[in-house]
């Protein structure tokens, strides 16, 4: 039953057209306008400056740092995030509800606060510092600090996505496999995992998008040191401060495109998973 049949009005009244117009205008001014401005702003002096900006050593180094941290965080999220989600759904142990509540904490903490917390923990004036110093470990103002900060802010994404997916697992299949003699590992890999894939992809997408965009935490705990703790976002910020506007806009444009690309890729990956299923399409109109 398509929408036209469900609706009991076939012709739209003036009021309805006005509403549509309102929404289109709103989204136009709010979202489309700025995006177009970014493109226009970056290409203000033509194509060459943009190409030069995005291939500049400074930007490439910063992007490289962002990517490396992103991949590391994704790997950890994949393993530990899924593990924790599994634990929260399938296991019962004392303190579970408290733990469950804590998972959401990073949502409530602003980026700069995250960076500051890590600075308190690992900076030179902290209690841990003498120990870290002796081991030769530098966390504050160094890449490990940025990594930890990014891990913190991305923490809930995987877990929150996986929990409903794990809750909805088809247990009949698992038990059938168990009765047929399948080992725990086989059960996991061949029965459970395929059902998790969609959720994992979505969780990882959110994680990657977040790691690309994190700024406040990285700036505070890393110090924005060129060549060492300067991620793509910090590079853009520094370019603005140094009045190198075309470089800033070009880098921002590229970062934006990358982020959108990530979402598109995840949709692309998920589409071939969904085609396998003959169940109804996801309700989400994406």
């Amino acid at each position: 039953m398509n929408k036209k049949q469900m609706g009991f009005r076939k012709k739209k009244s003036l009021a309805e057209w006005l509403l549509i117009l309102l929404v289109v205008a709103f989204l136009g001014v709010l979202i489309i306008g700025p995006i177009i401005s970014l493109i226009l702003g970056a290409f203000d002096n033509g194509l060459m400056p943009v190409l030069r900006s995005i291939t500049s050593a400074g930007f490439r180094r910063s992007l490289g740092l962002t990517l490396r941290i992103s991949i590391l965080v994704v790997v950890i999220q994949l393993l530990l995030g899924t593990m924790i989600a599994w634990m929260l759904v399938r296991h019962n142990f004392p303190g579970k509800t408290i733990l469950n509540g804590f998972v959401d904490v990073p949502f409530a903490v602003s980026g700069v606060v995250v960076g500051y917390m890590l600075l308190l923990l690992f900076g030179r004036t902290s209690m841990l510092f003498p120990f870290l110093d002796r081991m030769g470990w530098r966390i504050a103002f160094a890449p490990p600090g940025i990594f930890l900060a990014t891990l913190f802010v991305c923490f809930p994404f995987m877990i929150r996505e996986m929990v409903p997916v794990i809750e909805n697992l088809d247990r009949q299949q698992e038990y059938a496999a168990a009765t047929l003699g399948a080992s725990g590992w086989t059960r996991f890999w061949r029965v459970i995992f395929p059902q998790l894939r969609s959720g994992i992809i979505y969780g990882l997408t959110l994680t990657i998008a977040r790691t690309f965009g994190e700024f406040g935490a990285v700036l505070v705990v890393g110090g924005g040191i060129q060549g060492r703790t300067e991620t793509a976002t910090v590079y853009i910020f520094r370019s603005m401060e140094e009045r190198r506007f075309i470089e800033a806009y070009s880098a921002a444009l590229l970062l934006g495109i990358f982020s959108v690309l990530i979402v598109l890729i995840s949709d692309w990956l998920k589409s071939s998973l969904e085609n396998k299923k003959s169940t109804a399409r996801l309700k989400n109109p994406k």
């Binding site: 490439r60 180094r61 900076g123 030179r124 530098r138 060129q226 060549g227 401060e241 990956l269 071939s272």
Partner: protein, 345 residues
């Protein structure tokens, strides 16, 4: 397309991206990493000087130097170094910020010994005004007029702001301001309070302050001559006004012993600092709005940097040690006056 194939494609794409982004980090042969912690104003100058030094060092020793640089407000940078930022060299806006690092035990040599007392560049406190100078700002007394909106950074965070305050106060004490008798601390404090009342925004560092000015805030910004010139170089349309009496801003540079010994970079670091005093580097500083200490370079750039009628240094106040207590300490003159201004608001 099969799901597994897609995953493979994504991974390949990622690998290619990562490979192309390692911009110059791969090590072939002898290379050394040098970390610079500087204040915000001279970053354009250092961006030019660092490649020149890399050339020079490569020729001299065959070693490649890779620079990691950070630019923050002078006070903030100083504290960052104390807090764990491992700068091999610090280039800051005022002596007190270097002394702080020294007192934390990270600098153990006498960085002031030497031909130039550890000072690599200078500038002067001056004003940035709108194109055409519509409010006709000529000198310090114009800053206290009602209705004038002044920008200056916050002395508690920015070395630049401390210089600004001292420039103002010094000019007042020296009787160079109309209506303010010389050697009269009460009158000078009064004047300071009037100007501070006109301050609408206090930023964290000199660069942020001038950036805000560029965004249309305020009638004038008390700033370094250097900041104004750099801004104008990049197309900003404000004008520079130099008061009749002002203070010389002396910018120190020093090697951080604890870090160079830890990194094993002492030779390179000391060579870099020495390089900063050479004609080549000093000329670069001069091109980026800074007054230089190297006499030949100074002579060559004299046309860009007009003489100031009444120029004084921090020694007029008895040196930085005295200033940090008498003016910016908990009972200091500035601290007291700014509290009065806050309460009066």
């Amino acid at each position: 397309m099969k799901y597994q194939t897609k995953i493979l494609i994504v991974c390949m794409f990622l690998a290619i991206l990562l490979a192309s982004c390692d911009g110059g980090g791969s090590s072939t042969g002898d290379e050394v990493r040098l970390v610079l912690g500087a204040y915000t104003t001279p970053r354009e100058a250092y961006n030019e000087i660092m490649p020149k030094f890399q050339e020079y060092w490569l020729e001299e020793t065959g070693q490649r130097v890779i620079f990691d640089a950070s630019y923050l407000g002078s006070g903030a940078q100083s504290r960052a170094v104390i807090d764990g930022f491992e700068a091999d060299i610090v280039a800051l806006s005022l002596e007190a910020d270097v002394t702080r690092i020294q007192q934390a035990g990270l600098i153990t040599h006498d960085w002031k010994a030497g031909e130039y007392n550890g000072i690599v560049t200078t500038s002067i406190v001056s004003f940035a005004v709108r194109q055409g100078n519509p409010k006709n700002i000529q000198d310090w007394d114009d800053l206290a007029k009602t209705g004038i909106e002044v920008l200056t950074p916050n002395p508690l965070m920015s070395g630049g702001a401390m210089w600004n305050v001292l420039g103002l106060y010094g000019a007042a004490l020296r009787g160079q301001i109309d209506g303010v008798p010389a050697d009269d601390h009460t009158a000078a404090e009064d004047f300071l309070r009037q100007v501070l009342t006109n301050v609408s925004v206090m930023d964290q560092n000199a660069r942020d302050s001038i950036l805000n000015y560029e965004r249309g805030i305020g009638d004038l910004a008390i700033t370094y001559e250097n900041e104004v010139l750099v801004g104008r170089n990049s197309g900003q349309k404000y004008e520079l006004v130099i008061p009749t009496s002002t203070i010389v801003i002396e910018n120190p540079v020093a090697v951080v012993d604890a870090n160079v010994d830890k990194h094993g970079t002492r030779d390179v670091a000391e060579a870099f600092v020495a390089f900063l005093y050479t004609r080549e580097a000093q000329d670069i500083f001069a091109r980026h709005g800074l007054r230089v200490v190297n006499p030949e370079s100074a002579a060559a750039s004299a046309a860009l940097y007009p003489e100031v009628e009444d120029l004084f240094t921090v020694d007029y106040f008895g040196g930085w040690d005295t200033v940090m207590v008498d003016y910016f300490g908990p009972e200091g003159i500035y601290t007291r006056v700014i509290q009065q201004v806050y309460r009066g608001e």
